[in-house]
Subunit: 379 residues, 2 copies
């Protein structure tokens, strides 16, 4: 199988990630729940992973790296923990349901006020409108770093300049960009960064994290065992325990930690160059297929995703043909980002997303190009 | 190292669990996010795991098995999703902070009314008092199946008779009992069962689940991507998606699924018999140590835990000596169950918990007995 669904989850993990998980499953006790060697080993591994993630994303404190189960958990924690009645937030139509649905829920529950930055016809966010949406009660901007539908990259410098100028918080969903684009919380003045471990970071499923700038306080989403200050009725206020109730996924975190080593050794610039080359190669070879519609702005600031439709063919049918006749894995349909589909006019047809990893090859891309050309002729 | 901290997490996982995780990490895409083989493989593995868990716990529907990150997540989901202002709940002083802290929070947030069943001097719950605590607005009883501090087993039949008689919901924390005691949601009339995957169920960390009786409805704790009905503003109402926003830990779930096979093949009665034999053997050999204080009721209905203190020695000191001088891993201090420690009078000294797995041996227990005797003499 040729796997072009890396934006859903990367299938090819570096061997050291798998080895680290295996080793953790045979040697690690419960992190922070005892002082014997296997418990200390777990605690040490988790601490190392925090250090690596803090360094990777230029987060000023490793104890402000909070482990979660996935980006959805991170985003719910950020959004539910941040806002109070009367707050206004600016977000975008490029957001995933893991941002939209928590916001919709708070609209109903606490009367949160929300505005959505629109896109142009290519799905590019119209950030020039940021100022128009500013209100006296605006508390934060929440935006994705890269659209999971189109691969369009958000110009975070512009957003960051806006949030700094007006003293707003900047919450970034780095689910699609982490492990592909460099993200510096310090340079980009990001207050809360939410990422998942199992996509570009190449770690196991069941891992994610939320990184906080020092001084930002969040109400916890879950409360419970903390391993420290057991007699407090509330979750202990100190990070990371404040936001990490219950037993951590040490086995998964050990894998993510090994993945961070791989990324550091390989270097993001090498990974990005490889993925960009594959994406460009694919795009250049399919863009002239008669009637093909390519969504997003692949000639602009764009990640390793190409979203497309063939005319007169439902996206699910196209993806099924690719999978069954050519052994090519893509993702069709709606991609949990309903406002983006509406903006692109693909809310009925859906779209087929090709998403690349640096483990993919030009030969695999060649096969996909041939497949699309043949399917178009049969259409 | 001799590992007697199995109530914190089981360190020895069956080899097939590790193999299943490894295989999942090399073959499985994102469950429910596409229709290509690696995504379908993930979806199939998750569905199989639901079936096994439903069968294991006699839950009537496999789609009412909801995967979570751990028991804390399950319990927060149950407690935050169930209660409304004006409700009253009966719980116990044997509960873990993963029950207590969510309840305390709701007391403050929505005025939830809570009563706590006390224990006798051996930490045994005084269930005869259940009727005294009943109010017209009592909605549920939440109780642990086995104390994580003492190993005392809750007489669920009595609790269940009470909840059935008065039409209350029964929420059970099976964190410590699952994989040791049989739990039948059907026979015990359990409405919501919360378990973790990484203790007696022998699965990986980062896995847990909540099992719901048909007809019980919970508000979701997190909302976001669902893979289906992307255009709904709310989380889709159908289980399990209703309570499972975001990418599942398919890698961990595959491991848990393999662990369920192991448990089925081995049989709980065999596991229980082995663990009971080790626990009894340990207890019988230490109970006459001069001045030793054994907490809980090891001669009553009791699981594979022995909680103890030596006189004049802080529990942390004792556990450190056991670890450093004898290579024996136990857990000292407070065990995230503050009300139980107050009931036992161990809130200052803490206590040392020995918790056994069927992978432990009599020879290991012999060493622990010798260690305790020697440490007592030095005391």
């Amino acid at each position: 199988m040729i796997y072009f669904d890396n934006a859903a989850t990367t299938l090819h993990k570096p061997p050291q990630v798998i080895e680290a998980v295996t080793k953790a499953m045979t040697t690690m006790g419960n992190c922070g729940r005892g002082a014997h060697p296997s418990s200390r080993r777990a605690a040490g591994a988790v601490y190392e992973a925090r250090q690596k993630l803090a360094r990777f994303f230029s987060c000023s404190r490793e104890d402000h790296v909070v482990f979660t189960a996935n980006a959805t958990h991170s985003l719910n924690l950020a959004i539910c923990g941040l806002f109070s009645p009367g707050d206004h937030v600016i977000t975008t139509v490029a957001e995933h349901n893991s941002v939209l649905r928590p916001l919709y829920r708070l609209e109903g529950q606490i009367g949160l006020q929300t505005d959505y930055i629109p896109t142009d016809a290519k799905g590019v966010l119209q950030l020039s409108k940021l100022e128009e949406f500013l209100r006296p009660n605006t508390k934060a901007v929440i935006c994705t770093h890269m659209s999971n539908v189109t691969g369009n990259i958000t110009d975070l410098e512009t957003v960051s300049a806006f949030t700094k100028k007006h003293g707003l918080l900047l919450v970034v969903d780095g689910s699609q960009s982490a492990g592909y684009l460099p993200i510096s919380m310090k340079e980009m003045a990001i207050d809360i960064l939410c990422v998942t471990g199992h996509k570009g970071l190449l770690g196991p499923q069941g891992t994610g994290c939320l990184l906080l700038r020092e001084g930002i306080s969040l109400r916890p989403l879950t409360v419970g065992g903390s391993g420290v200050q057991s007699y407090l009725k509330e979750q202990p206020p100190k990070l990371p325990e404040a936001l990490e109730a219950g037993t951590l996924n040490t086995h998964g975190i050990a894998g993510l930690s090994a993945a961070m080593d791989y990324l550091e050794e390989m270097g993001l610039e090498v990974i990005k160059e490889k993925e960009d080359a594959l994406t460009r190669y694919f795009y250049e070879n399919i863009r002239h297929i008669d009637g093909i519609r390519i969504h997003g702005d692949p000639e602009g600031s764009h990640g390793p995703i190409v979203a497309l439709n063939l005319p007169n063919m439902d996206s699910a049918t196209l993806a099924d043909c690719l999978a069954e006749d050519y052994g090519i894995a893509t993702r069709p349909g709606a991609h949990c980002a309903p406002l983006m589909h509406k903006a692109l006019g693909t809310d009925t047809q859906g779209l087929v997303r090709f998403s690349f990893s640096h483990f993919n090859t030009c030969e695999e891309v060649d096969l996909a190009v041939t497949a699309l050309k043949e399917l178009r002729q049969q259409d």
